[in-house]
Structures are given as C-alpha cells and as structure tokens.
Symmetry: D3
Subunit: 315 residues, 6 copies
Amino acid sequence: MSGERLAYFNGELVPESEARISVFDSALVYGDVVFEVTRTFNEQPFRLREHMERLYASMRLAEIDCGLTIDEMEAATYETIAANHGQFSDGFDFQITHNVSPGPLSIYRSIFPEGLRPTIVINCFSLVGRMVKLGPQYRTGVHGVIPSQRAVPAQFVDPKVKSRSRIYYIKAEHQAHRIDPQGWAVLLDGDGYIAEGVGSNLFLVHDGTLYSPEGRNILRGVTRKCVLELATDLGIPVLERNLEPYDLLNADEAFFTSTSTCIMPMTRFEGQVLGDGTPGPVTKRLMQAFNELVGLDIVAQAEAGAAHVAKLEAE
Amino acid sequence: MSGERLAYFNGELVPESEARISVFDSALVYGDVVFEVTRTFNEQPFRLREHMERLYASMRLAEIDCGLTIDEMEAATYETIAANHGQFSDGFDFQITHNVSPGPLSIYRSIFPEGLRPTIVINCFSLVGRMVKLGPQYRTGVHGVIPSQRAVPAQFVDPKVKSRSRIYYIKAEHQAHRIDPQGWAVLLDGDGYIAEGVGSNLFLVHDGTLYSPEGRNILRGVTRKCVLELATDLGIPVLERNLEPYDLLNADEAFFTSTSTCIMPMTRFEGQVLGDGTPGPVTKRLMQAFNELVGLDIVAQAEAGAAHVAKLEAE
Amino acid sequence: MSGERLAYFNGELVPESEARISVFDSALVYGDVVFEVTRTFNEQPFRLREHMERLYASMRLAEIDCGLTIDEMEAATYETIAANHGQFSDGFDFQITHNVSPGPLSIYRSIFPEGLRPTIVINCFSLVGRMVKLGPQYRTGVHGVIPSQRAVPAQFVDPKVKSRSRIYYIKAEHQAHRIDPQGWAVLLDGDGYIAEGVGSNLFLVHDGTLYSPEGRNILRGVTRKCVLELATDLGIPVLERNLEPYDLLNADEAFFTSTSTCIMPMTRFEGQVLGDGTPGPVTKRLMQAFNELVGLDIVAQAEAGAAHVAKLEAE
Amino acid sequence: MSGERLAYFNGELVPESEARISVFDSALVYGDVVFEVTRTFNEQPFRLREHMERLYASMRLAEIDCGLTIDEMEAATYETIAANHGQFSDGFDFQITHNVSPGPLSIYRSIFPEGLRPTIVINCFSLVGRMVKLGPQYRTGVHGVIPSQRAVPAQFVDPKVKSRSRIYYIKAEHQAHRIDPQGWAVLLDGDGYIAEGVGSNLFLVHDGTLYSPEGRNILRGVTRKCVLELATDLGIPVLERNLEPYDLLNADEAFFTSTSTCIMPMTRFEGQVLGDGTPGPVTKRLMQAFNELVGLDIVAQAEAGAAHVAKLEAE
Amino acid sequence: MSGERLAYFNGELVPESEARISVFDSALVYGDVVFEVTRTFNEQPFRLREHMERLYASMRLAEIDCGLTIDEMEAATYETIAANHGQFSDGFDFQITHNVSPGPLSIYRSIFPEGLRPTIVINCFSLVGRMVKLGPQYRTGVHGVIPSQRAVPAQFVDPKVKSRSRIYYIKAEHQAHRIDPQGWAVLLDGDGYIAEGVGSNLFLVHDGTLYSPEGRNILRGVTRKCVLELATDLGIPVLERNLEPYDLLNADEAFFTSTSTCIMPMTRFEGQVLGDGTPGPVTKRLMQAFNELVGLDIVAQAEAGAAHVAKLEAE
Amino acid sequence: MSGERLAYFNGELVPESEARISVFDSALVYGDVVFEVTRTFNEQPFRLREHMERLYASMRLAEIDCGLTIDEMEAATYETIAANHGQFSDGFDFQITHNVSPGPLSIYRSIFPEGLRPTIVINCFSLVGRMVKLGPQYRTGVHGVIPSQRAVPAQFVDPKVKSRSRIYYIKAEHQAHRIDPQGWAVLLDGDGYIAEGVGSNLFLVHDGTLYSPEGRNILRGVTRKCVLELATDLGIPVLERNLEPYDLLNADEAFFTSTSTCIMPMTRFEGQVLGDGTPGPVTKRLMQAFNELVGLDIVAQAEAGAAHVAKLEAE
C-alpha cells in the first residue's frame, strides 16, 4: 500500500482526511444528507447502478438537486475508485460511500465566498477492519435482540430514504449492547412488526419458505433484493409480509443482510437458540449462491481479513 | 469589522471556514450530534447556562460523553466569544452555536492518527443577515400553515433532545413554502395536536389566557420558558395543554418563539386572518416585556439590521 | 334542448329544482344518506347494476331500508332517464345520481302529514360543464398534492359506504388548492398510506406493474375495478397493496379514476415531475382500452364539450 | 295554536315544510353544513349569543362564508322567532335550529338561475314531542351503554365543529338500542377514553368532585359549559380530564347534558347500577341550580308535556 | 360409564377434582400458563402433534421450560387418555386439555417442600354437555355481534401464544350477551379489523372465495388451518387478508371454527341476516368435507348428544 | 413458629398447601381472577379497607359477583389473620393475599357436585424471604431499565383492574433481567409514556417537585396514593402527568412504590447514574415519613430480615 487515499469532494479529489462537511451545511444543521454504501467484490463495485438509482430516489424524496446526472455521478464514482487504485490491493475489498446534501444553508452564504452549491462526497474505505469481528461471526451466527427503541414509522421519517437523520439507530445499538454485548438490534416498528436491523435487513426461514418484512418501514436493501432473487432462482418460495417476534422466535433459521456483511446468520434471538444454534441449511445455500454471484467466498475473505489484521497487530 | 471569525474545534480556535466535520464522524453517519443555539443581546449571551444545561441533558439522552464538564464548556464558549471580539460590533448581535458528537466511528480509527475523541464545535455568527427578512415580519406578523409532514413523536425520536436528525424539518419547510411562500410551518404531532414550528415554539391567546402545547412532542425552548415566566409576571394566566388546529384558528392572537427571533406574531393561519390581522395586544405586551428583560428593542434592532443590509447591498 | 329536467322523488317525477330534502330528514340531520353516481356513455348508463349493488351494500351498513328492491330501484332509474330524454341529446353524456336516506326523524313526524318514509332521489345532470376543465387536463395531466387533512380511517367512518358525511373531502380540497391552484388532493390515511382522491381512486405504474391501494380506507370505485380488469386483460401485472408517498414520487406514471372523469393522468406530485411530465404509456394504453370498452373517445368528448361551452359563452 | 310555522330560508320566511335543501347543495353532497340548536325557556332563547359564536367558529373551521355578520344572524333568529309567535304558546318551549352551508356546488350553477349563494335555514320546533319520553326518564335516569362504534378523532373530523357529517352517531344509536332498548350511547374515542353521547356531553361525580372529559374529541356543549359554571358557583370541585369506562363504572353519579334535555341522570352503565340506582345528590343539586338559572322546572315541564301529549292522544 | 376420571398432574394420575393449581403458582399469579385443547373424533385425538407443536411454540414465547420433550408430552397425553378409557364411551367424544406453567414462584419455595418444578396438567372432558347448545345451532347458525371490547394487539400480548391471560375474552362475552343473548362475539383488533371470536376463528365467503383474517392478532387455530386445507382441496379459492365489518356484513356466508365446535355457521351479523339466513352452500361443503376427514358427522353427533342429555335430564 | 399456616377457601380454613384452584375455574381458563395484596406493619394490616374497596372495584369491572359484602370480606380477612396468629411472630410482618374469581365455568358443572360458586381465597405469607434481596437494595437503590415489552393500554385490558391476566409482566421481567441482572422493569405504554413497574408504581423528583404518571395505564397503587398524601403533608409539590424516558433520565431522584417494598429508590436508569447515584434527599424524607406513618423502620426491618435468613441458612 502506498500513496494516500483520496475522496471526491464537489468535483475535486482531496485527501480522505479532508472529507469534511461544514457545520453550516444542511447536512449537519438538519441531518439533511442522503447517502449510499456500495461494496466491491474483487475490487469491482457491486450493483453500483442500483445504488445510484436508490441515491437519486432518496434525493427526490428529500428534494435535493445535486447538480449531477446519474451518469455523471457514476463516472465520478469510477474516477474516485481509480484515484485510489493500489490503496486496497490487499484482496479484502472496500466500500464506496456517497454523501449528498443540498449544501450550506443560504443564511450562511457569507461564509462561502465561492458560492453555495450542493455537497457531494465520494470516498472509499477498506473493509478489512470490519472483518476482524465478522470473520468468526459468519460461523457462529450473531444474536438478535429487541431494543426498546422502535423503528421510526415511514410516515414520520421514511427509512426508504437513505438519509443520515438516524440517531435512533445509535440508541438502538446502545440498548442492544446492554442486553447482550454481542447483540444485533432487531427493531420493531410502531405496530410491533419486525422492521430491520441497524443498517441491515432481516430474513427468516420457516417450513422451507423464506420470509422478509414488507418493504415499508425499512430500507429496501440492495443485498435484500439480491437475496430475494437468488432464492427465487434456487426455487425457494419467498414471501414479503408482516413478521412478528413470534414468527422469528419460532423460525427454523434467520439472517441479516447488508451491503458490507452480505449475509450474516442469526443463531439466537431474545435469549433463545434458533434451530440447532448454527447457521441453517437454507441460509448456507443462499450464502453459497451469493458467493457464486459475486465470484468470491465472503466468509473465507472475512476470515483471511481477520487473520491479516491479527498478524499486523502481532507485529 | 476586521480580522477573521474563529470557531472552537476540540480545544483549538480555527477559522470559521474550517468548522467542518469528517464524514466518518457519528455526527454525519447517524445524525448523532446534539447542539444549542444561544443568542446575544448587546453582545452578551442570554441564558447561556440554561442552554448548556439543555445541551448536557441532550447528551445524556444521546449517551454522548463529550469529555468536558458543563463549566468547562461554558468557559470554552466565553473564550470563543472573546476570540471573535470585534467581529460583530455592529450592534446587531450574534448567535453562538454548539455542536457535540461522540466523534468518528471506531471502525474508521485508522483515518484519525491523532486518536478518536468526541467532536465539539462552538462558533458565532452575526444575526444581521436574518434581520433582513425578520425586520418587516415583526410588524405584519407571519402566516402559519399546516404541512402534511407530521412532527416525529417523542417515543421514536425525542424532540426534547436537540439533535441534528431533523430531516423532517426541511420536508415541512418545503411543504409550507408550497402552501404559502411566506408560510411558517405549524407541525402537528402523530395525534393531530399542534407540536411546534421548525425550530420554534407556539403560543396562542384565547379570552385573555396564554396557551402553549404541553412539553411533549416539542423542543422545550429556552425562549418559550422565558415567555411563560414573563406572562406569569405580567399576571397573564398561562396553560400548557393539548392544542388543536381548532384552537389556533379560533384564537385571538398567536405567536412563535425561538432563540433568534424571540417573539414573532402570527397573523394568519391556514389561509384565514387571526384576530384583526395584526399582532395582538397580549403579544405586544409580551414583546415589550421581553425587550425590557434583554435590554434591547428586538424589532427596532431587526429593522435597523434590515436597513443596514439594504444599504450595504445598495452600495 | 327543450322541456325541463325531471328528478325522481319518492315515486314521483318532479322538476330538478324541486329535488330538495327537508332539514328534518336524517340525511341533513346526520349526513345519514348514501348515494351513487353513474355515468352514461352514448347516453347508456355504464355498469348501472354494479352501482346499484354498491348502493344496497351502503344501505346495509348504514342500516337504511329504502323500501325498494334493487330491481325496483333499477327500474326507477331507467324511468328517470326516459323522462329526461332529449335533455342531454348533445353528445356529451350525463351522470345519474341516487340519494337514499331513511327519511325524516320520527321526532319530526308532525311536520309530515303524509307520513314518514325513506327519501329516494334520482336525478340526471349533463357532464358538459365538467368537461370545460377536464378537456385540457387529459392531455397535460393533473397535479397531485398531499393535504394535511387525512382520510378518515374505516374503523371510524367506513369510506366503502358511499355516504354524504364527507365534510373532510371539502377540507382536503381547500387545502389542496392552497398548495397548488391546480392541485388534486391525494389523501393519506391514518397510517400515512395513500388512500384516495376526493371522490376518486389512485393508481401508479412502476417497472411495468400497475399498483393501487388496498381496498380498505377507500371507496372501492366501479371505475377502479374496471381498470383493474382492463389491465389484467391487457396482460399488465396488477397489485393492490399499501402505497406510500415514496412509491408515488418514484413512480413512472400515475393516474386517478372516477366515474365522471374515467382515467385522469397525474403528471406532477408534491411539486415534482412524474416520469417525463406527460401521461405515460401504460396510462394511455388503459385510456385507449377504456374508450374501446365504452365505445367512446373520452378525451375527444371532453374536448368537444369544452369547445361547445366556449362557443356558447362567446355567443 | 293557529296559523303555520315558518322557517327562515336565505332571507325569506317560508312554510316549515319548505325548509328543504337541494341535493345539489354542498350540505347534501358532502355533509358540508354546520348547525346549532338553541333552546328556549319560557319562550326566550337561552344563551343565543353563545350558540351564534360557536356557529361562527364552526363556519371558520369549515371555511364557510355565510354572508351575514353574527349580529345579522342573531337578528334573523329573533325575526324567525317572532314570525312563529303563538305557534308554541303551550308552555312547553321550543328549539331553534340554524343550518348553514356554502350553498350549491358551482358545477351545478345552471340549475340555480337566481345565482349561487350560501344556504341559511333557521327554524323553530316545539319540544313537547320529546318530553313524552324524557318526562319519566328524569326520575329514573337513563342507561349508558358503550357501542362498538367509536367517536371519530378530532384530527380526522373535528367534533368541535358542529357539522352534519355525523353518520357514525346513527350507527352508535343503532348499536346502543341493540344492547339495551333504553340505552344511551357512551362513545369512546380512538384511545378508549369516554368522549360524548350522541349529541350530548357526559359528567360523572366521584368522591364529591365533578368530572367531564377534556374538550377534545367532543362537541364543547353550551349546556356543558353552563353546568361547569353552576358547579363552580355551588362550590363543587370540577375537573376536565381523560375519563375511562373504569371511572364511569366506579362513579357515584353520572349524567348527560344537552341543549334540549339540559341535565339527564344516568343510573345504569354497562349493565350495572350506578350508586343506588337513582339520580344522585350532586346531580340533583345541579338540576335544581339549572332550573333556577333558567327560571323553569325542567322536569315538571317535561312531565307536563308528557301528560299533555298523552291527553291529546287519548282524545 | 364406571370408575373415575383421572388427570395427569406432574407425572401422576390424580382424580379430576384434584386437578388444581396452587395460588402461589405463576399460572395464577400472572396468568403465566399456556394451554391446548385437543378434540377426539371416535375417541382418537385429532392432530395431537400439531397441537403439541403449538404448545411448545407458546412455551418458547412465554419462556417456559416444562422439562418434558414434545415426545414425552405426547406420550403422557396418550397415557392420560388410556387411563380414562371407558369414561367417555358414549360415542360423544371428549376434549383433552393441557395446561403448562413454570410452576410456583421461587419466593414461595418454602410452601413446596417437594421443590419447585413446572406445572403440567393434562385432563379429558366429555363434549356431550356442550352439544346440548350446539346441536340445534349447527342447523340455524349463530349470531355474530361486535362487542366494544377489542382484541388485544399482538404487540402487547400475542394471541398466537395460547395463554390463559385472557380476561378480555370474558368481557367480550358479557358484552355480546347483552347485545344478543344468542350472540357470539366477533372481536375487532386495535385497527378495527376483524380478529377472532372468543376461542374461535372466523371465515367468510364472498363471490365464491373463502376469506379469513391474516394470522396476526388471532390464535392461529388448528381447525382454521384444517379448513384452509380442505377448501384448497375442494378447489375453493382461499385468501388470508384484513377483513372489516363491511366485508362480513356484505358476505354471502360466514362461519366460526374451533377445536370443539369444528365449523359453526353464522347466519346473522350485527342484527342483519347474512345471505338467506341459513348456513350457505360453501359452508356446508366444508362441513361435509370436515366430516369425511374426521370420519364422523359432527352435526349428527351434536344432535345425538343434545338428545342424550335431554333424555338423561327427563329421567 | 409452630402449627400450620391456614388459608381461607370459600368459607373454610384449609392448610396453605391446599390453597389451590381447579383448572376448570374461570380463574385459570381465562385469567379471570382479581386480587389484592395487603401488607402488615407490626402485624396489623395497613389500609385494608382501601385494598378491599379496590378489590370490589376490580370485581365490578370484571363483572364478578363474589357473594360476600365488603364487610364480610373484611371479617373473613381478620379471621384468616387470626387463624395464622403465631405463624409470623418473628417481627418481619406478612402479606395478605385475596384472590376472587367467578368460580368454575358452568360447562364443567358435573365436576363439582357441591355446586358452582365463586372462588375466594385469602392467605398470609411472611415477608422475610423477600427481605433477603430488598435489605441491601434500600441502601444502594435499584436499576431501572426499559424492556421492549410495553404496558397493555387500558382500552384493551385495564390495569386499574387488579387481575391475574398479566403474562406480559413476566415477559417484561425476563427482558429486564437480560438487560441488567439487577434491573427493575420500567414499562412504557403504547404511547411511549412511562406507565409502571412490574407490580409497582413510579415516581421521580425534578427541581423539588414530585411527579408520577397519570392514573391511566397503571394500577392505582395504595402505596402510591399514600406517598402522594405524605408529600402533600410535607409541602412537596406533587404533579400527576405524562412522563417520558427523557424526564426520568434527567430526574434528580426516582423511586418505585409497592405494597410489599413500600418505597424503593432507583439510582440508575438505562445504564446511567441518576443524581449522585444514591437515594436522594426527597426520597429519604418520604421514606422517613412513611416509617413514621406505619410505626416501623422499613429498611431496618428488611435488613434484620436479611440477616435473620442468612443466619438460618448458615445454621
């Protein structure tokens, strides 16, 4: 690894440490900033276009006009990736993050002699650090717990808009960790239905059918959609419907999905073992199919990443 | 005016334009940042301690440990004000903003060779720009309108915690401006009660009594508390209770309060005239009492500010 | 046009101007009156039986026994149409309205020496007047806006019962017009789902699938059902499900349906352009299929109607 | 009794039987009509001005401009009363009803050659017929029952606006009569709190304190306000607060209030006896005080009325 | 019939009258006890395994570890049945009830010198007594009525967990009987959807399709599942969806299902006749299919049971 | 200690171990049983009459007619206490529990040859066992935590009725213990307001005022009422109002009340220290006043109890 990681900032490439947003920007004044996180596999961004389409859908809802077409945004993304070539050549892949806000509030215009314009930041970050924890979890599965914090209903703040106004995620995480230091929050919505994890979607398997919450009080994840497609391809029946803790506690298997972790088995829920306490057969089939789709063994990569970091730290 | 405005940033004074927060900071990743806005009158901060107490209450709920005691925070504030001495000596006062987040996420620690620590930013900004619009509005009153966006109920994201996760404020403002280009949003909560404005509180007068919504789905404003005290001192009966559009539409008078505008009369609501369409007598008594309390004629200052800017722009 | 328009009133044909209901009638005391509006195409009533079945379903829920069988009601309808023969022979078709209430309250029986009986009114009215506005709108599409007024949830007053207790429709319209003078209200229900328009149903098209809200907090429109059937015949996938503003704002196309307007494209929503801002291809296919079904070019008729009125007014 | 009862209809006095509203009027199309019922005592209208003020508050919420000032409306009322002089000279008093709508919809303008204008109807009706039933009930008290129909929450259709969109009242009455042929409906609101009766307000007495539901999901009755004032004058502690079936079932006493019945004791609730099953002491004190206020013995009048009708029918 | 009926109590067979649970048991302290009721046909338990699986799902949610495996529980059940052999040999079948609680609270351990352990009770009871009432009802159908008591939403107490904390069932029954002495309660959930009866599920038939509420705020009945399967086998289209009183009142047919009654037609609802007022054709087909499945004519058995009891009582 | 503890069971005194209720009793079938727990101080029952009044209010709501007057119930209580004289003469006091159900279901009448009648159980139990844990907790205070289980809203199952249908209490406790092995559950109601603990009420102190939740979604505790009275006597301002986690987390002090623990300080909440982490001054004043009222030092007694048990166990 050599050189310096660079971030795209309003048309320019700046050092990653300069990817900073003014406190006068609507992004910080109101949490008025939408974003995307895209993952690479073998250093190629996965479903970038789909992420960009969701980014533009978020902007539409948030009434942000960023000034770039979706094609220009995609081009800027590839430019940013290219500029960081060699920074992540360790076989551990990276994530690409887009942040877009309407820019500084007009009342603060005097602070910005260069004029007011939307804020666009694109940056890349190695996933190897995350793998330290994830590596072993793919084998053991994680523990789902229900925090008292509820998912904000879409009629108040729509989670389908991938915005940064998500302080309740942090609250849910604090609570989840008090319940179980290894706990992953399973947020219920205002009606008591299972919504989502913190930045992840949920699935369960019951009698051979794959279930996931309706696309309502959740972020409609790109990986979630991918898993639904894979299941259909594999002939696994799929249903999107309202799910409750009852359903999850009596499920045969369950797992989380997200861009960075892909598919993460859940083997305990609310203090009880799910199935036989190990990742289930349907989950494993889907993980295998996902590996094939992306051309990479996710678990092996994560374990290699964990080992890599351990070695570095031991040195 | 000479020199440069400075902001406090984690113990150092930096140019205002450097008051920027990393995209790897929890403040931007989750909207996980609490804040305060304090106003000066005659360049002295008004009820700074009260603002600091609310800031620490917000941190407590958000589980942010900023590393400073409340006394240290207050001292840092005065230090920042002192550093900007002369920047705002135009008789138009300024606002002091505190932003506090837990700092960058630990997974991004490699980006911060100096180590991870909470983010504290304090900055000052002249109010003269705001006065351009406010100046005439104090005389005519503003127009209240109900956007379809509702206030987020406290059980999901507590508005009593003054956090930046408020993208719904922007949505409410976009809607309010479509209803009436001069419209100020009056947000209803999930039960249909009047909650608050965008960054302001609401009051109405009916049959000589002053009413304000219960301190539930609202920010409990410092100016709001101040007005309740002034009313009590003036012998005006005061009630905090659930208020509905019915009550506001049949009110004799109404007004918004906020730190920067203090007391702003509302003279129309939902397309209809309130009272005789001008700021009412109780509202004016309270504005007068507020002026006396802070030792300044708010309206005169705003009008002078508007004139000042107009003159500058004409030059 | 010659003679006088007649209305059916409790078994008799009276001049249209005499189609009046006593203020002592439950219809006016409680809004306790159900109704139907049926449209003609080429002067033949369209799906009259279906409208009559819904009328009797409404009566059943409202516990109104009107004293006529459904066959008798249908016969009375044809009698009323016949009595108005020649009144609407201008090629612009008309609507037939049924109003049915339980009649005057029994406490007011002394006012009605003829005895108390249910009130049944059937009348016809030319659509040409409506076409003045609709004519151009079919080409440009209309603007959907969300008023703050919510649709009343079915558990309180069931919108599937086509009753006249609908003062909230008027409130929604007042608000919609303040947002956009050309705005058509898109009412959200108590959960924030899209319910219906004012007297109309909603559809959207996304990725080639036609979506409409579940038949819950809406009137289950006859035209709505007709469009669902047409779509199925055309091989367009159809889904009735919970829809949110997010879905409508990211739809490729959208339209309203109602008895009098049939299919009306929506080309803007909440201040933003839908698709390319013109009626979309699926919408147009459905409009074309509807024309074929009813044996009439709806848009051409409306434009002819608009021209007809313009000519009359110019004379 | 001689001559004919007359009603005020848009500036003219017409026979009562002509107090009819067109089916093309917004009153019937949308239930878009507000009203008031005022009672006389000794043939003098009671608190007419208060009723008129509420009428104008209702119009304001419903955005109806009736074209008359409140003073003109009051004058028209007295004119109507005068025109009916001698019609009710039987010592049994009468009620005055105001109905006000925005008039026919503009699309129906061709039906109204005289032009479109708001509809105002004022009429008088003897209370003697009602007394037949009420006479004995004042002594025995009535039976409160909870129908499954809930009161519509104010955020959907505000009951403080006295409009005719109240088909749910009829539904509640049908249900109440199935529970108990003598049952008076006690409507719960969407949260399960006691709201109101059908056109009446509720009170209960517990440990010497008089309670009534908060003025939220109810009509704020003129008689209700009167009773609250009388109680205060009598030194009875008064609290407006959320009340639940638990509170009513464990109350010592309870009663309904309305313009026409004034104060009606409830002696059973949900199948169980309240107190000792007869009107309680606080209720009786308030009835006595009410009699003194209005200069009439309400119960005696009702019993005389019942006897009067019985005699007429026997003849 | 000879000998004595025996119940299984924590591993022992005791006389039925000794099937009693201590007031110090969590079952009585908190209603913390789950149960199942299984029916025999021709003295063979029907779908016992399915009932046992639901029992263990209930225990899982209630966090009760009963100490027996599901196979052991099944074996204990057969042992109990065998012990009662000859007690029910009257051709009228019986029900088997399982009650399982975590046992006495630990604070009461001094009362239980034998130590604390979970409480398991299994008992059998003849259905002949129930048949007295049911016999004629299968022919006439029963009357559905809506009590004001709502079904408790699953997010508060999940009805899918078959627990004894169901005091609201009794409340619903008291109310239903006040509405109609023959009334069977149809509980609405918190959203106003039809949930279930008291210990039974609901079905309706409309235009040839069989509908039942979604498996959410209901007990997911074993008989319900059985009927859904039978309908599918018979080629009757089946839909589980949100149903409202509107749907039931306009249904062609309706019926309840439960373990002990199997399929019970509903022929009136909310005071109105359903269909032609007799059990409908689809209902009868399903009853017939059910008879074939269980090898018994349910209605004939019930009528024989009723006659049997009548004869005994006459003796 | 000698002899045997006896319980009152339907008019007879039976050994405590025989205080068992049939599984055919409505108490177990539906959780249809109301109860009271009364504490002694110096072996005298405290506010027994108040507990009996609440018991009869519960019965009224549950529509249970137990067959005894309140005076007879009180007499039976004293009889039971007398029968256990000498059993608790260790200075540690005891609790008296009343359980009342309508008795066995009528369908099970054949099991009860003695006939069906309501079930009434009264028993006494020493508090010394509880003191083992409570002893030290009075000094350190306990930890409040919010489980994801919500308090059931009163409109579904009224907590003011002290019934045994409370399986959600157990669920809340399981969750609380997973969050913190020392955690006491603080239940939120459906609106997110603080309701109560598991069998206890909540208080907080802020700026010298004592707050407790409104008497709505809670049991209105006898000790709660007692503390409100004591506070008033001590001149401490008292407010019953909606409280939220925000309020509790920013409180100066907090405590639980219940019959058996009296007043128990809370010194942590949601993982954070309240005040200085020890029982606060207002809490201690109230504990002191409570001691004086009951003529006993509660904390000293508990500590003596803990020591007593420790000594016994050591022997």
